[in-house]
Amino acid sequence: MPQTKCLRALAPDVRRVVTASLTLSGAVGVFALSFGVLAVSAGASIAQTCALSLLTFTGASQLSAMAVIGSGGTVGAALGGSLLLAARNGVYGLALAPYFGDSLGKRLVTAQFIIDETTAMHMAETDPRLRKIAFWTTAIALYSCWNLGTLLGALAGSAIDPQQFGLDVAFTAAFVAMLYPHLVRRRARLAAAIGGAICLIAIPFSPVGLPVLLSGVAIFVGVPASGDES
């Protein structure tokens, strides 16, 4: 395969990062299929479904909006939950900003690609050069896969029942796989436990989208200076 040969020519670290980015993007392409199917069955047109992936480009928010529309919610209700979910990208941007010293124009373009996956891939590396490579290979490959998958899923549309193929758990499974490496740190396990508990307790009492945002309170277990940083 030409792709494998091309990857082999790169330094081992770069190859590892690029391989991880492409694997992750391929997997994301599979969920994009399920987003496309779910959006069309919720009442969005194929053009609207593709526009969401091209312009909004933040999976959890897109899915949450379609879930609300599909269950008969208003545009306002769909927006509320989705934007709350999108707020975490603002915090990711804050964490990423010190590593990107580009011009304003470049930063405005880069901002569109700040999502869970690009942030996670960036933060998983320690070397500044590898961090940038991880961010950009993930951004480009994932944007391509996400939009291609969305289009194919939207075209397949109502011909597929997402639940029948278990596609609704695809996002969950990917989140679990992404979560696992974080849990080696004791503080991260504590944040995960508290965040998860807050979310479950809040679900019956708050609008869709809010419980996930509330779980963000758990990150403040990071405030004390003592404890493990490994």
């Binding site: 526009a51 969950t172 679900i203 963000g216 405030v223």
Partner: protein, 99 residues
């Protein structure tokens, strides 16, 4: 569905991305904030996983998705590639639903 949802969601999502990165970004963060920010994926991914597994809308539910979560957790623990974890979890859920 209204195109306004697409417009407002896209503008709003981009505004959040740009706010942290372009408007506030570039400054050195205090240690306590940096340590806290690093915990975001752990807290939020856990919340997303639990929400997507144990709820439908604002209702807590317990259904076939729990098996999918179990399979995904086992697969991630065994350090399987991400795509394998996704396919195994989806397949397990689909099979149980078909029974």
């Amino acid at each position: 569905m209204s195109w306004w949802l697409v417009v407002w969601l896209s503008l709003g999502a981009y505004a959040f991305k740009a706010l942290g990165f372009v408007v506030i970004g570039g400054r050195t963060l205090p240690g306590w904030l940096e340590r806290s920010l690093l915990l975001i994926p752990a807290a939020l991914l856990t919340a997303l996983v639990l929400k997507d597994t144990f709820s439908t809308g604002t209702e807590l539910v317990f259904d076939e998705r729990v098996l999918g979560l179990g399979v995904a957790a086992f697969s991630a623990w065994r350090k399987m590639p991400l795509i394998v974890t996704v396919v195994l979890a989806a397949a397990a859920t689909a099979i149980v639903r078909a029974l």
